[in-house]
C-alpha cells in the first residue's frame, strides 16, 4: 500500500474515532442519576409498567424529618461529609396486629426518633414517645444511626436494637404495648461508631445474635474531638476504621462479645452487612460491605468461627466504597445473589455497583461472579441503600436504589476538592484539617433514585422517574413492605437531613402474588435465616428471611412473591435454620400465609 494512501486511511480512522467517542459521550450524558429529565405520567406508567409509586407522606400523616448529627467544630470544614449518615428506616409489626409499622431514626442530639404505628386505615400515628423509643439521642449515649428489629427472647414480639455513634441500645418489646430499655444488663458494647447492624443466628441455637459494623474508630466522640486525625488513611485501602462486634446471645437477655473468637477482627470502615447460608450447611455466611476498601465474605464454620474468603470468593478483589448488602434472586434460579452499592460519578469515579451471583461449584467455598453490568444495574450514582422486590408482581424481582450524597448549594461540586485529598498520602487524607472547606458545596447531590424493572431473567430496564415523581433527596435507607395489606410492595426511603418518602404502590395488572410470614419453633422465633422457595409456572424463586439488610434498613418480615398471571403455585419449600424442611403443595394465591415451623 502506498504510504500516502496509508496516511489518508489512518487520518480518516483517527478523526472517525474522535468523532464517534465525542458523539457517544454526548449521547450518554443523560443516563446519570443526576441529570436525567424525567417525565412522569401516572396512567402511562400504569399502562406500560403495571405499577406506579405515589408519595403519600401527607395522606399517611408521616411528618418525620431527619436531622444530621452534630460534629465537633474542629472538623466543621467537612461537617457534611462526616455527618452524612444516620437516616434509617426499619419496618416491623411491633404489636402483632397484622399491619406493618415503621421506625425512623434521627441523629441530632436532642432530636426524636419516630415509631409510626400503622392504624390500618391508611393513616400512621407516631407512638415512639408513648412506648419509650423516641427520646434516645442524648449526649451521654450518643445519636442514632439505625435500628433493626429482632425477637431476641423468642417471646413472639420483636425487640428493638438501636445502633449509634455512641452506645448501642436494646429495647425489649413488652407485648407490643411498651418498650423497656434493657441495654445495661444486656452486655452490649460501650461507645462505638456503629453504622450497620443485623440480627442473625450465627450458630443456629435458636437465639438471635447481633453483628455491629464500626465506621469511625470507637475512640472518637464525633461531637467532641480532641484530634482531627479521624479520616480514612486511604480512599481504597483503609484499615483504620472502627472495629466490628459479634455479640452472641447467651440467653436471659444477655450477649457476649465473641468477635475475636469468631475471627471478625478487621477494622475496615463497615457500612452494611447481610447474612444468609450460601453453602448449604444451614449456618449463615456473613457479607460485610466496607467503605474505602474491599468487601468481606465470611464463611461460617459450623457456627463456631468465621473464615474470611472474600478474595477467593471473587468479591474482595477490587476495593470500592461498599455501602449496601441486600439479597435478591433476580433470575429465578433459586440462588439469590448479593447487591452491593458504590459510587459512580461520570468522568471522575466509575466504581459501579455489584450484583454477586453465586457460582455453582464448590459448596464449601462459595464463589461469585459480578453480573451487575450484564443485568444493567451497575451505574446508579452515589448509591446507598438498595432493595429487591417485585414491584409489579410479574414474577421477577425489581430493584430500588437510593442515590445522592450531599445536596447543598445547587450547581456546585466538591468533587475537585475531594479528589485532591483522596489522591494523597495517608498523612494528608487521614487528617480532616487537610480537607478543603466544603463551603456549602454539593457532592453528587440532587441525584435521582434509581428504579430498575426486571423485564425477565435479570435483564433490567431503568424506569427511574417514570414510575414515580422525581426523587432527588439524599437517599440512604430503603425498605419494602406491604403497608396497606393489598398484596403489593410499597417503598419507604429514609433521606439524610430531610423527610423520608413513603411510596404507595398502585398496581394495575392481572398479576397475582403470595406472601409468607414465618415463625420458628426449633429455629429462632423470627425464622431469620430461613429460605422460602416458591415454584410456579416453570419458575423457581428463593427469598430469605433476614434480620436487616441493605443500608441501615429492614424490610417487612413477611416474604412477598409476585406470580405474574399464573393462578397456581406448584410447591413451596421452606428451609428452616434448624435444618428442618417444610413443603406446602399448591398454597392459595393472593394471600398471606402465616407458617409455623413444623415439629418434626
Amino acid at each position: 500500500m502506498p504510504k500516502k494512501t496509508a496516511q489518508v486511511i489512518t487520518a480518516v480512522i483517527f478523526v472517525a474515532l474522535l468523532a464517534v467517542t465525542f458523539i457517544a459521550s454526548r449521547n450518554n450524558r443523560g443516563t446519570t442519576a443526576g441529570s436525567a429529565a424525567y417525565t412522569v405520567e401516572k396512567e402511562a406508567a400504569l399502562k406500560k409498567y403495571g405499577f406506579y409509586l405515589e408519595p403519600v407522606n401527607e395522606e399517611t400523616g408521616i411528618h418525620f424529618r431527619h436531622i444530621c448529627p452534630d460534629v465537633d467544630p474542629k472538623v466543621s470544614n467537612i461537617k457534611m461529609q462526616i455527618a452524612s449518615l444516620g437516616a434509617s428506616a426499619a419496618v416491623c409489626d411491633f404489636d402483632n396486629d397484622g399491619w406493618n409499622d415503621i421506625y425512623f431514626t434521627n441523629s441530632q442530639t436532642g432530636s426524636m426518633n419516630a415509631l409510626y404505628r400503622n392504624l390500618g386505615n391508611g393513616k400512621f400515628e407516631d407512638v415512639a414517645a408513648k412506648v419509650g423509643v423516641a427520646d434516645v439521642n442524648i449526649k451521654s449515649t450518643g445519636v442514632s444511626m439505625g435500628a433493626v428489629w429482632g425477637d431476641y427472647d423468642n417471646d413472639g414480639f420483636k425487640d428493638l436494637l438501636l445502633y449509634k455513634w455512641g452506645k448501642a441500645e436494646l429495647f425489649k418489646n413488652n407485648g407490643g404495648k411498651e418498650f423497656e430499655r434493657v441495654t445495661e444488663e444486656s452486655g452490649l458494647p460501650g461507645w462505638a461508631n456503629i453504622n450497620s447492624a443485623i440480627w442473625f443466628d450465627v450458630n443456629n441455637d435458636g437465639l438471635l445474635d447481633i453483628f455491629l459494623g464500626g465506621y469511625f474508630k470507637e475512640i472518637f466522640h464525633l461531637d467532641s474531638l480532641n484530634t482531627t486525625k479521624i479520616m480514612p488513611e486511604s480512599f481504597k485501602y483503609a484499615n483504620n476504621g472502627g472495629r466490628n462486634f459479634l455479640l452472641k446471645n447467651i440467653g436471659n437477655g444477655r450477649f457476649k462479645d465473641v468477635t475475636e473468637q469468631y475471627g471478625l477482627t478487621t477494622t475496615k470502615w463497615t457500612l452494611a452487612a447481610a447474612a444468609a447460608d450460601f453453602n448449604g450447611d444451614n449456618f449463615p455466611e456473613l457479607y460485610v460491605a466496607n467503605d474505602y476498601s474491599v468487601d468481606e465474605f465470611y464463611v461460617n464454620k459450623n457456627g463456631e468461627a468465621f473464615e474470611e474468603t472474600g478474595s477467593q470468593a471473587g468479591i474482595g478483589r477490587i476495593p470500592k466504597s461498599g455501602m449496601n448488602a441486600s439479597f435478591g434472586d433476580i433470575n429465578n434460579d433459586g440462588n439469590p445473589g448479593i447487591y452491593t452499592t458504590n459510587i459512580t460519578e461520570k468522568g471522575i469515579l466509575i466504581q459501579g455497583n455489584n450484583y454477586w451471583q453465586p457460582k455453582n461449584g464448590d459448596m464449601q467455598a462459595p464463589s461469585f461472579v459480578n453480573l451487575a453490568q450484564l443485568s444493567g444495574i451497575e451505574n446508579a450514582g452515589w448509591s446507598y441503600g438498595a432493595q429487591f422486590g417485585d414491584l409489579n408482581n410479574d414474577g421477577f424481582m425489581d430493584l430500588y436504589v437510593a442515590n445522592g450524597f450531599i445536596s447543598a448549594r445547587e450547581n456546585t461540586s466538591y468533587w475537585y476538592d475531594y479528589s485532591k485529598v483522596t489522591g494523597g498520602n495517608s498523612n494528608i487524607i487521614g487528617d480532616a484539617k487537610n480537607w478543603p472547606d466544603m463551603e456549602g458545596k454539593s457532592q453528587s447531590g440532587y441525584e435521582q433514585d434509581k428504579i430498575w424493572l426486571n423485564n425477565s431473567d435479570a435483564i433490567f430496564e431503568d424506569v427511574s422517574g417514570r414510575v414515580c415523581p422525581p426523587a432527588t433527596y439524599d437517599g440512604r435507607s430503603v425498605a419494602m413492605a406491604d403497608l396497606w395489606n393489598r398484596g403489593v410492595l410499597d417503598i419507604i426511603v429514609a433521606n439524610q437531613n430531610n423527610i423520608p418518602v413513603i411510596y404507595k404502590n398502585t398496581a394495575a395488572n392481572n398479576n397475582h402474588w403470595v406472601a409468607f410470614d414465618l415463625q420458628g419453633t426449633a429455629s429462632n422465633a423470627d425464622a431469620v435465616g430461613a429460605k422460602v422457595q416458591v415454584e410456579w409456572d416453570d419458575k423457581k424463586q428463593v427469598q430469605i428471611v433476614t434480620g436487616g439488610m441493605g443500608f441501615s434498613s429492614q424490610n417487612q418480615h413477611r416474604l412477598h412473591f409476585g406470580l405474574g398471571e399464573s393462578n397456581k403455585i406448584d410447591q413451596v419449600t421452606i428451609y428452616w435454620p434448624s435444618g428442618r424442611i417444610d413443603k406446602i403443595q399448591s398454597p392459595a394465591i393472593d394471600k398471606l400465609h402465616i407458617v409455623k415451623e413444623s415439629q418434626q
Binding site: 450518554n28 460519578e345 453490568q373 485532591k420 489522591g423
Partner: protein, 282 residues
C-alpha cells in the same frame, strides 16, 4: 591490577546500560505497575491492561509499517499501553482499546516536519477524560501509604530521568508545582498539604517520570524544556483554580504541542526521518 579490572568492569557495565537504555523505562514502568499490583492490587482487571498494551503494540507495528514504511522498537508502544492501562479507569473494556489506539494513531496523524507533536498517551488519556463519560474516569486515588514502595519509585525514577538527561525537567516541574501549590493555598484558603497532596499520588509519578520527560515531544534545548515545563505547571495551576481534576494532563496536552511546534519551526530541517527518543514515547 584490581583497579584496572574494576574500571574495565565499570566501563563494560556503563556501555551495556547505554546500549540497552531504551529498555530501562519500560522496565521501570513495569516495576511501578508490579509494586502497585503486588502491594495493593491496583488493577481492576488484567484483561484491561493486556488490551491496552496489545492494542498499542499492534497499532505501532501496523502504522509504522504502512505509514512510515519502517519497523520500530516497540518499547515506546509498550509504555503507551501500560500507561493507558494504569491511567484509565473503566468497568468496560472498549475505553482501553480506544484510548490506546487513539494514543498511537496521534503519533502518525498529528505531525509536523516529520515529528509527532503530542505525547501519545497524554493525547489519548486527555481526550477520553475530557469527554467526561459514564464509561471512563482517571486514576485519581492513591495506592496506599507504603512509603518504602513510594521511595523506591521516586529514587529509581529520578535515577532514570537523570540518565536520560531529563532530570532538569522533572525537578523544574516538581519545584514549580510545589511553589504554585503554595500560591493556590493562599488564594483558595485550603491547607497547603491539600494542594500538595496530588503530588504524592501515582498519577503524578507516571506524569513526571514518563509524560513530561518524553524526549520526542520535548523541545530541543535545555533552557527551552525548562521554560516549557514551567508553562505546563502554570497552565495546570490555572486549570486547578478552575477545579479541573485532570489538570496536569490537560496542561501538557495544551502546552506541549504548541511548544514543540514552535521549536520545530525554529530549529528543525524541513523533514526528518522519524526517530525514537532515549526515554521513548509513551
Amino acid at each position: 591490577m584490581q583497579q584496572q579490572e574494576r574500571e574495565l568492569q565499570g566501563s563494560v557495565t556503563s556501555q551495556w546500560i547505554k546500549k540497552n537504555f531504551q529498555y530501562i523505562p519500560p522496565a521501570f514502568i513495569t516495576l511501578i505497575l508490579l509494586v502497585g499490583q503486588l502491594t495493593f492490587g491496583i488493577l481492576d482487571s488484567y484483561v484491561n491492561l493486556v488490551v491496552a498494551i496489545a492494542t498499542s503494540i499492534l497499532a505501532e507495528m501496523i502504522l509504522a509499517r504502512f505509514v512510515l514504511g519502517t519497523t520500530k522498537n516497540l518499547a515506546s508502544a509498550y509504555i503507551t499501553g501500560i500507561s493507558v492501562g494504569i491511567l484509565i479507569r473503566s468497568n468496560v473494556i472498549w475505553p482501553y482499546f480506544v484510548t490506546a489506539l487513539l494514543s498511537i494513531m496521534s503519533k502518525y496523524v498529528l505531525r509536523y516536519k516529520g515529528r509527532h507533536l503530542w505525547n501519545p498517551s497524554n493525547f489519548g488519556v486527555s481526550w477520553m477524560l475530557a469527554l467526561s463519560t459514564m464509561s471512563v474516569a482517571g486514576l485519581s486515588t492513591q495506592w496506599g501509604s507504603n512509603f518504602a514502595a513510594l521511595s523506591v519509585i521516586w529514587i529509581l525514577g529520578l535515577i532514570i530521568v537523570n540518565r536520560a538527561k531529563r532530570l532538569h525537567v522533572t525537578v523544574t516541574y516538581v519545584t514549580s508545582f510545589i511553589i504554585l501549590a503554595y500560591v493556590r493555598c493562599l488564594i483558595t484558603g485550603d491547607a497547603f498539604l491539600a494542594e500538595l497532596s496530588p503530588l504524592t499520588g501515582p498519577m503524578y509519578q507516571l506524569f513526571i517520570f514518563f509524560m513530561i520527560t518524553d524526549p520526542p515531544t520535548s523541545v530541543s534545548t535545555k533552557k527551552g524544556r525548562i521554560i516549557v515545563v514551567i508553562l505546563v505547571a502554570i497552565v495546570e495551576f490555572i486549570l486547578r483554580l478552575n477545579h479541573s481534576i485532570y489538570a496536569p494532563f490537560y496542561a501538557l496536552c495544551l502546552v506541549g504541542p504548541i511548544a514543540k511546534f514552535i521549536d520545530l519551526k525554529m530549529t528543525a530541517p524541513k523533514e526528518q526521518p522519524h526517530s525514537v527518543g532515549v526515554l521513548a514515547t509513551k
